[in-house]
Amino acid sequence: MDTNLAVEMRKVTKTFGSVVANENVDMQLRKGEILSLLGENGSGKTTLMNMLSGIYFPDSGQILIDGKPVTIASPKDAFKFGIGMIHQHFKLIDVFTATENIVLGLEDNKKFDLEAASKKVLEIAEKYGFQINPKQKIYEMSVSQKQTVEIIKTLYRGAQILILDEPTAVLTPQETEKLFAVMKKMRADGKSIIIITHKLNEVMEISDRVAVLRKGQYIATVNTSETNPQALTDMMVGRATVLDINRPEPVNPEPRLVVENLTCVDEEGVKRLDNVSFTAYSGEILGIAGVAGSGQRELLEAVAGLYPVKSGTIVYSSDYKNSKSLVGLDPLSIRKMGVTMSFVPEDRLGMGLVGTMGMTGNMMIRSWRKGKSFFLDRKSPDKLAQKIKEELEVVTPDVNYPVRRLSGGNVQKVLVGREIAAAPSVLMTAYAVRGLDINTSYTIYNLLTAQKEKGVAVVYVGEDLDVILALCDRVMVLCGGQVSGIVDARTTTKEEIGLLMTQFRREGAKENE
């Protein structure tokens, strides 16, 4: 047995309902190394790590710490084994100081002494080169400082194995540099580190070895020094699978939506969209690819009038003569012009549907304005609900049954079906097939293609590259809020898109990132 292993996971499997998140995954973490866990969205990286940190419990398989089999049933157990995970969403209490957050929940039978704890925090910070003010309140901190608090929190509790879930997603390049320096110091101190990421340049820079997951399956572990980004991309996206999706050639494409130099800034002043320009044509499906959080959501919302635009133009033309700028219009007027959006976020019900209402009620949210009389028109939304139920095979006992109680896939069908029923001229969908089974997914692909044939400009934000390549006519790739390329879906390859997603080819982008 290799005594040099800090963690070994053997044939670990985890399923959520019918979705297999991890299947027979093997992973080995050596002592004193930095291991990158690489994979696309939904490849099961975070699920795997959550099993290590006690948030999920594996269905089958074995976890060994220092060569001994262990059971990790809760985050407390994980701490006991010296495992600390830094999540993407920080678990910190805003009105507490850094020290208060670090000692929260810690029972060490010692006198409660914040001064001594602050000192110890500073010692840890000094040892690894963190910069931290133990008395600073969390709400006064930048994202990077909050991350520092999270890392120190795990070190304070004596973690030997650190898991960082996409730590650089929220950091500036300078902050990333600092983080990497700290990680190298921790490695020198004998700590073992797993970093979840899908940025290839970071993988090459920081890690000793790379473990690759694809669609819940373990692919391979390679030494960073013996590989290159191209090989990693191949492992990450895999060979192209052929999907049988009907894809007619676009007929008479004409510009519907012209976006130029669109820049959007969020509340914290971070650029979410940076100089985005593209044109969506009628009668075609424009795919948008990119790792999660590359600006997909902001882009759709900006077009729909839900996200503030800092600069740039969005012009909608119903034909060559009539063009109108959408910037500054309220969502309702944009909708009336025929631009619709169906966004399927993580919580599915968050945007677009009211959970406690039935299908009919949710149809009415869109239709009640059309009514002329004082009373609501219930008949036509009811008919529409029935129609969607039959055509999309929505499994529901009744059209008035609260949509909150339907399964995720059925909720999505209701949402997409309603948006299509509005007879849009621009249809934007995001993650429309997330969590759906194959048959339902095909129903939705066919619906989108039918819209395209009607002359609608369809914008399809998706996760699965195989689908994007088979369904769309052109693919725009977003990376860090910038357009890293627009390619023809018929001629491009998965590898090309994969590289664009991680910006590997764009030398110029690194400086202004």
Partner: protein, 333 residues
């Protein structure tokens, strides 16, 4: 001593007496709200505390001609605490375990407490032969004992305005200081505040959120109930009066929690200020019955003013606990 000075002293004295009732209510509610639960049942809990303590002493003293002062007082305090903590337990069970709406549950508890207390108060009245005939003189005198050597009996003496109160008043102030210390300087206090700010984070840090909430709410309710006890035993000298004063003071306690921005030390002077505001109409010349009511609004106006100022300043420390009023499910994200 000038007439005006005497008036100010007597106003201060009666302000403090009402202030103590409000202070107990508010301190309990601060603990409750720090766990993230808005308990609008404070008036009902104060009713429960008042009637439970009164009944305990009443039955003890009526069955023992040579009632012992200490025993009668201890019985009153213990039963007042248990009675109001049970009220808190009902609220805790409904809002924590069954995740009922906190506002509705609290209001229901207020209505229940007031009905319960007035029913048994009426029963005690009829048992003792008529309204105002209830007597728990032993306990009441025990509660009303003050340090007469220093304070004297002269209501015009400034010392009387400081030392001339039943000893529960000083307990209330001490309790405020203790509560400040516990909340800010101990591990338990840190965990309790974490639960009210962000139960998911507290849970992930290994804190037993449900336990903290139950204990916080029940102990908070027990302390609020002491306000009712002080009212029945000290202010109305050990009898029962169903004129709704407890309820009015209970609402003032809820308002005071906001006024103090959830800080126990502020509650001390805030409660006295509220008490003084309550009585100020007696000392302002030329008021008739209707215009005097306007002055009773003063505490609420102060609370509104504080809310406006605090909201404008947007300082995080003066905001309510972030998870106040929201239910917590571990599985829901």
């Amino acid at each position: 001593m000038s007439e005006a000075m005497v008036q100010i002293l007597t106003l201060f004295h009666s302000g403090v007496v009402y202030g103590v009732i409000i202070l107990f209510g508010a301190l309990g509610e601060i603990i409750t709200e720090k766990t993230g639960h808005l308990n609008l049942g404070v008036p009902g809990i104060m009713y429960l505390g008042g009637i439970s303590g009164l009944m305990a002493s009443f039955f003890y003293e009526n069955n023992n001609p040579d009632a012992n002062t200490a025993i009668s007082i201890i019985l009153a305090i213990v039963f007042a605490f248990i009675g109001s903590a049970l009220g808190g337990l009902i609220y805790a069970f409904l809002t924590i375990s069954l995740r009922a709406n906190q506002n509705v549950t609290g209001l229901a508890l207020t209505i229940f407490g007031s009905g319960f207390a007035n029913f048994f108060g009426g029963m005690l009245n009829s048992m003792s032969g008529g309204v105002g005939q209830i007597s728990v003189a032993t306990a009441s005198n025990g509660f009303r004992a003050y340090i007469s050597a220093i304070a004297g009996n002269d209501t015009k003496d400034p010392l009387y305005a400081i030392f001339g109160y039943g000893w529960l008043a000083y307990v209330a102030i001490a309790l405020a200081v203790i509560l400040y210390f516990v909340l800010n300087k101990t591990r338990v206090g840190l965990s309790l505040r974490a639960v009210g700010e962000d139960p998911a984070t507290a849970d992930a840090a290994g804190i037993n959120v449900t336990k903290y909430k139950y204990f916080g709410i029940c102990i908070g309710a027990g302390i609020s109930g002491m306000g009712g006890l002080y009212y029945t035993m000290d202010y109305i000298k050990g009898t029962w009066a169903n004129d709704g004063t407890i309820e009015a003071l209970g609402w003032l306690a809820v308002a005071l929690v906001i006024f103090t921005t959830w800080k126990p030390l502020n509650a001390i002077w805030g409660a006295i200020l509220f008490g003084i505001c309550y009585w100020s109409y007696l000392y302002i010349p030329g008021l008739d019955r209707s215009s005097s009511e306007i002055f009773k609004m003063l505490p609420y106006l102060f609370t509104l003013a504080v809310l406006i100022v605090v909201s404008l300043r947007k300082k995080r420390e003066t905001q309510p606990p972030a998870h106040l009023g929201l239910p917590y499910f571990r599985e829901e994200r």
